[in-house]
């Protein structure tokens, strides 16, 4: 693990931990939501950022896992610690199963197919009354407890969520640096050249999609044990689009970007509450500006500024290219 990665991981714990001591309960709740989103967006980064697979169904995987936890704990009375691994494994398997046929599609076809998957998920969750409780959702998911201590307040749950985020980010960084991470980027950059270099393109895509689903599943577990209530609208396609927006605002292809994007887009609506309904207009314009002026997101901007300071006019420095053609 590189020093930069290590510093980043420590920064998550230190900044998050410090904030947890000073913020109000309401802000802590938002922090928790941001951290849960960050875990999901790190997952989306495997599919979209590294492998170039656009997914508008990411929220459905979080939902699948959250519902698993809800059903296993409330209907079967299992401990969340048993339910969560089961939910994560089940969701990862379904991501692989769904990915295998869907990933033959490319670009906007894949976007539409994954969107369709998300919509179907919501419809099933609304209509399978016996299992999911329909639009009423499932309430009464038990608190997580660690060594006899119940994580029942926002502050203690945030510590648990921060540790989870750190572990997910560390795993993601390790995969990024491994041959598997390089294979994903190669598939994103040029599928034909990747096949010519001996890479199993379909295998890499399914693996990336499954990893994305796994992270979404972890986020779903955190969501279920934090809010302790799941309902279909918590996992509709609008959330999938928000995840994608978080990744683009933060900087696709970057783990730091995924986290920053999740935090910014969770808090922005609160900071700009004065705008009222005009927030959506502002949000739309902001996305446009980011796509046109900052295609590599906030992380790309920071990197560009620091490079300019270090070596003005040096063309050979490593500014990452915009993630090529996503077609």
């Amino acid at each position: 693990m590189s020093i930069r990665t290590l510093l980043g991981l420590v920064a998550i714990l230190v900044i998050g931990g410090a904030l947890s001591l000073v913020l109000s309960d309401y802000s802590l709740r938002l922090m928790n939501l941001a951290v849960v989103s960050a875990v999901a967006v790190i997952g989306l980064n495997f599919a979209f950022g590294y492998s170039g697979l656009i997914s508008l169904g990411h929220s459905a995987f979080a939902g699948l896992s959250a519902y698993c936890v809800a059903i296993l704990t409330t209907k079967l009375g299992l401990s969340p610690w048993v339910a969560m691994p089961v939910a994560i494994i089940a969701t990862a398997l379904s991501a692989a199963l769904i990915g295998y046929p869907l990933l033959r599609l490319k670009g906007h076809y894949l976007a539409l197919a994954t969107l369709g998957f998300n919509v179907s998920f919501t419809i099933v969750a609304i209509n399978w009354l016996d299992l999911t409780g329909g639009t009423n959702g499932i309430a009464g998911i038990p608190h997580l407890s660690v060594a006899g201590y119940e994580l029942s307040d926002e502050r203690s749950f945030l510590w648990f969520a921060l540790i989870s985020l750190t572990l997910v980010a560390a795993a993601a960084a390790a995969i990024h640096r491994s041959r598997h991470g390089r294979a994903m980027i190669a598939v994103r950059d040029d599928e034909i050249a990747a096949a010519m270099a001996g890479i199993d393109v379909t295998g890499v895509k399914v693996a990336a999609f499954t990893l994305a689903g796994t992270c979404a599943a972890i986020a779903g577990c955190l969501f279920a044990t934090h809010i302790r209530f799941v309902a279909p609208e918590d996992f509709n396609y609008a959330h999938s689009i928000t995840y994608l927006a978080m990744l683009i605002v933060g900087g696709e292809g970057s783990i730091a970007g995924a986290i920053i994007g999740a935090v910014v887009l969770t808090f922005l609506p609160e900071w700009l509450r004065v705008l009222g309904d005009a927030y959506l207009l502002f949000f739309g314009l902001m996305m446009l500006v980011i796509l046109v002026i900052l295609p590599t997101g906030i992380v790309g901007l920071v990197r560009r500024i620091s490079l300019k300071r270090r070596s003005p006019g040096d063309e050979t420095t490593n500014v990452p290219a915009r993630a090529g053609a996503h077609s």
Partner: protein, 235 residues
């Protein structure tokens, strides 16, 4: 080592190769020359499994490639430096190189040795090993594409227009390296529009016109052939 038997390839209704017969023997460098649209690139892509064969067969070391997908063909020893280089812009030079072996061979001393060999052949790549692919010049990208193909420890190297888009001096530099690789014992099938360069490094050659082999022979004979001289050498 590699034989194409009566190979026919079509894109929909358009037939790109009509019953092509080509043989490459171990250790030789074979040039495939011809104008734009003659089917040269199609032939190389079919050998590496990117195009479907309509009829005929490709035999590599006495076994048919018909059912083998392209990524497996690389592992069997058919490495392809594609037309237009197609290096990975978002990966560094070193990552581009190690990628070509790493998916099926774990990082080990042997890969470091392979990297060293490529860097010996192309010292410029060593200087730029930490740079991202897109920031390389055209010549460096071509060297990287050839280096990447070599990293797979091929038994045969397929080169598609290594001179494409390069200044004449750079194209010659690339071909000097191709010659060195061939002299070290590598079997090479090179597709090229720049007939002078290709015939200078090749032992034998085939001339392809609208999907058919119209001429074949030793490189030195092809250089003297009146048809080749008129059509491709401009003399």
């Amino acid at each position: 080592m590699l034989t194409c038997n009566d190979l026919t390839v079509a894109y929909g209704d358009i037939v790109a190769l009509h019953g092509v017969n080509i043989t490459v023997k171990a250790g030789e460098t074979v040039a495939l020359i011809g104008a734009n649209g003659a089917g040269k690139t199609t032939l190389l892509q079919t050998i590496s499994g990117l195009n479907k064969v309509k009829s005929g067969d490709i035999v590599f070391e006495s076994s048919s490639l018909a059912t083998i997908p392209s990524e497996r063909r690389v592992r069997l020893g058919i490495a392809h430096a594609p037309e237009g280089r197609r290096i990975f812009p978002g990966l560094t030079v070193e990552e581009n190189l190690s990628l070509a072996t790493a998916p099926w061979r774990r990082w080990s001393q042997s890969i470091a040795d392979d990297l060293g060999r490529v860097f010996d052949l192309f010292p410029r790549l060593k200087e730029r090993r930490r740079q991202l692919g897109w920031s390389l010049s055209g010549g460096e990208q071509q060297m990287l594409a050839i280096g990447r193909a070599l990293m797979a420890r091929p038994r045969i190297l397929l080169l598609d227009e290594p001179s494409l888009g390069l200044a004449p001096r750079l194209a010659e530099e690339v071909y000097e390296r191709v010659k060195l690789i061939g002299e070290a014992g590598m079997t090479i099938l090179v597709v090229e529009q720049n007939t002078v360069l290709a015939l200078a490094v090749a032992n034998r050659g085939y001339v392809l016109e609208t999907g058919r082999v119209v001429l074949e022979g030793a490189a030195k004979d092809l250089k003297q052939n009146s048809r080749v001289r008129e059509a491709y050498l401009g003399r």
